[in-house]
Amino acid sequence: MLLITCPYCREARPEVEFAYAGEAHIARPADPSAVGDAAWRDHLYIRSNTRGLHRERWRHVNGCGRFFNAVRDTVTDKFAATYKAGAPCPIDFAREGAER
């Protein structure tokens, strides 16, 4: 079982307390009726499917109840960082991508 650090509880907690909630930092268009069908489809369904570091949402559903963001390596399952919802990602992805 993984230990995940909840940025609100500031504690490493067992994975069973958490629920995965998809890719993070996907902004919903402010006016959905103004975007075209293709753009709306991409917003709803098209995800990056990354191999490596992936920014994703989690919810501490059986704890403090809060959604937060995490950076997890999809190959090793290792969490690189967790941070509060609304906060900027602490990892510079442009640089990380160049290193891989």
Partner: protein, 189 residues
Amino acid sequence: MIQARMIQEWKTLAGTPIPEVAGRLSVALAPDCARFSLRVRPDDRAALDAPLGIALPDRIGGVAVGAGGHALCLGPDEWSLLLPAEAAAGLGERLGAAVTVPFSLVDVGHREVGIAVSGPAATLALSSLCALDLDAMPAGSATRTILDRAQAVLIKHDAEQYRIEVWQSFADHVWTLLEVVSREIALDL
């Protein structure tokens, strides 16, 4: 009609005592109390302290004692109040009259059952249901967590005194598991 009655059926666990393991473990129903779920913005929290008679803890996991009961901080803006019935009577009206900040107070008194787990083997018994490191959990703290598969609030008063607050629907499940664990501890398995 029958269905409605079934949904409202109370699982009080009364009449199903778990035998005490002498000097090691005791599992018993905690005395019933009033329960409230309190939501308020963290910045406005202090405005409620005086009318409640409890200084609400500001850190998640914190437990404050006051007004004859406990206040548990479960989330950034969520507190759970466990109060004696007399302190709870008319609490919503009293708070509404005394406080101007927005808050939400919901009576969840019928939702949960309290179970007191105590004795030197209490940590061992609960560790068999819970993935948290209970030895590392500070005394005088509380958290929402998973016991086996059921969500519950676990309060650690000290290393030998715990209280579980579990929803009535799952109380039988947790109670039966504690019964099994208690028997295993009694037999030194």
